[in-house]
């Protein structure tokens, strides 16, 4: 079950947390997914690194289906996040995506399939009231699933 392999004290943010603070948390804790939790502890959204960096991404990245031929982003690489006045005003409410989550009793294979299906890298875990209780990365889940296999003797 996912409850046994998740991290129990996830780094989380509130809907009113600014993008600036969120950036600081990503840097301090080295996490790639920030669950957004309301005042009751209920998971209301998820902010991924993609959502945070989208603010600074050039527009063409979403408009062109193939960017392999762009070897240099030019002036875009040299702009600093603090040069974006818009970025400072953004809060998690503006950036968050609807959450995909599972309950603690969810099986490992189902949890992994859920992540693959929704193309996410971390899976928030909630209790029956929807409150955030933990978060599991794809490595956490895969390692837990593969653990019994890894301890077996290799076949001769």
């Amino acid at each position: 079950m996912i409850g046994s392999c998740m991290k129990r004290q996830p780094v989380w943010v509130a809907p009113s947390t600014t993008a600036h603070e969120a950036a600081r948390m990503v840097v301090a804790h080295r996490v790639g997914t920030l669950p957004v939790v309301d005042s009751l502890g209920v998971l209301v959204g998820v902010v991924r690194l993609e959502d945070l960096l989208q603010v600074f991404m050039p527009d063409f990245v979403t408009l062109i289906d193939n960017i392999d031929f762009v070897h240099d982003f030019g002036v875009l690489e040299t702009v600093r996040p603090q040069d974006f006045p818009r970025a400072a005003k953004l809060t998690m409410r503006d950036l968050m995506q609807p959450p995909v989550s599972v309950e603690q009793t969810c099986g490992l294979l189902r949890a992994f399939a859920t992540m693959t299906h929704h193309r996410i890298r971390d899976l928030p875990v909630v209790n029956h009231t929807g409150a955030l209780v933990g978060i599991a990365s794809r490595v956490d889940i895969a390692a837990a699933f593969l653990a019994p296999w890894a301890t077996l003797e290799p076949p001769k």
């Binding site: 063409f60 062109i64 030019g74």
Partner: protein, 431 residues
């Protein structure tokens, strides 16, 4: 007016208004209008199912279908990206040269491909180039939309009104080139000058990073060079056949769809994927409009309109032509020029039956419907798409900006076209 005439006019006008209001998707609105026209026509006895079928111009549909398939196949190879990046690199990032070069590329492409496809393919690459250079993409995008509308007027396949006119009037591809391309060339230069004046300040800024532009590797964007070569050869053959189409006694539709068949046979693309990218909604929209306008024609309303203007056309054909040009331009600026052209075609045909030499009227309609589309952001589908794409960026194109640049272009190109039309009026009376 008789009761059927009143009923058919009412249905037609309501359909038109609903399409223009954009409250409903235009294909749904068109199909609903066609259905109501047919049902009422059968009940009142002015329109039959056979007449409805006959009113559909299948050559137009087949020509559009054939070109759509060829363009979709070409698009999948990454060719347009390649072209745009190559052209942009040649300019070394000089904003003035970039403006002219990308504008010219869009014009040339839109002479042979439909304008919407052209801007959909070129605009994202333009945004890319502008962003890595650190200049505003807005003047470039506006120029591309406007110059693709302008360039499209030059050929039979350049924009939908021309496809419709060529098919209805039975004008050849070569005839479009010899009559409209010279006017378009002068109008194009005038349009470019107007745009350069409007955006003189933006164009004067120097790019922050021209080196990054030269770093772009356009060859890495080409997905399937072998397929690309085959499609380009086929497309080239199609264009050559278009040129000698008059002598071959082949319809443009047969050439285009034949070309699409040849390309598919040669390249063997994923057929379902290629056909899925064809804009079936557009083809259905055309069919529905043909059926709706056909009902109106069947009641004789359009003949009445033609009789009204026949006097003027007989008395002063040049004045009537210029009136046609400016009326089409004014209307095309505020409404979709496809339904407008489909409604005008039977009127001109009726005038022809009354003994008027309608050839200059066809040319005037093509010029007006094409150049008029530049006036407002909703004047042509290419404009709508360009504005929609720009809204996904940090610098959206506003209506005010469009009216400041596109409207002067429309007025200038129409004025240029009028003068040339009057000077070469003798030539305009020939097919």
């Amino acid at each position: 007016m008789t009761a059927p005439q009143v009923a058919a006019t009412a249905i037609f006008v309501v359909t038109f208004v609903v399409i223009l209001s954009e409250r409903l998707h235009r294909t749904i609105a068109g199909l609903a209008g066609a259905t109501v026209m047919l049902v009422v026509g059968i009940i009142m006895g002015f329109y039959s199912q056979e007449q409805a079928l006959e009113s559909i111009d299948f050559n137009t549909l087949i020509l559009l279908l054939g070109m759509m398939i060829l363009v979709r196949m070409l698009q999948q190879t990454g060719f347009f990206q390649y072209l745009a990046v190559r052209v942009a690199k040649r300019t070394q990032g000089n904003p003035l040269l970039l403006f002219i070069a990308l504008g010219a590329l869009t014009t040339v492409l839109s002479m042979f491909l439909d304008n919407v496809t052209t801007v959909v393919l070129i605009v994202p690459v333009t945004i890319l180039v502008a962003e890595i250079l650190g200049i505003s993409p807005v003047p470039l995008l506006l120029a591309e939309a406007v110059l693709s509308n302008t360039g499209g007027v030059a050929t039979l396949v350049g924009d939908p009104p021309n496809v419709l006119i060529g098919s209805a009037a039975n004008f050849s591809f070569a005839s479009f080139l010899t009559h409209l391309a010279p006017i378009v060339l002068v109008a194009w230069a005038a349009a470019l000058l107007v745009l350069l004046f409007v955006f003189r300040r933006e164009i004067a800024t120097s790019p922050k990073n021209a080196a990054a532009l030269l770093q772009l590797d356009e060859k890495a964007g080409l997905r399937d060079p072998v397929a690309l070569r085959k499609i380009l050869i086929t497309l080239g053959a199609v264009v050559v056949l278009f040129f000698i189409q008059g002598r071959l006694e082949l319809s443009t539709g047969a050439i285009a769809l034949g070309g699409a068949a040849a390309a598919m046979l040669w390249v063997r693309p994923d057929v379902d994927e290629t056909l899925r990218r064809v804009e079936w909604g557009v083809l259905l929209f055309f069919s529905a409009l043909f059926v709706t306008a056909g009902g109106l024609e069947a009641t004789g309303v359009l003949a009445l309109v033609a009789e009204r203007v026949a006097g003027l056309a007989e008395a002063n054909l040049l004045l009537a032509s210029l009136l046609m040009l400016w009326t089409s331009a004014a209307l095309s600026a505020v409404v979709d020029n496809i339904p407008f052209t489909i409604a005008m075609i039977p009127v001109i045909e009726q005038l022809g039956l009354l003994g008027v030499n309608v050839t200059p009227l066809w040319w005037a309609l093509a010029l007006g419907a094409g150049f008029g589309g530049n006036g407002t952001p909703i004047g042509s589908t290419a404009n709508v798409i360009t504005v929609a794409l720009s809204e996904k960026t940090r610098t959206p194109i506003t209506t005010r900006l469009w009216l400041r640049s596109g409207l002067p272009v429309m007025l200038t190109t129409c004025a240029v076209a009028s003068v040339l039309f009057a000077i070469f009026f003798g030539w305009m009376q020939t097919r």
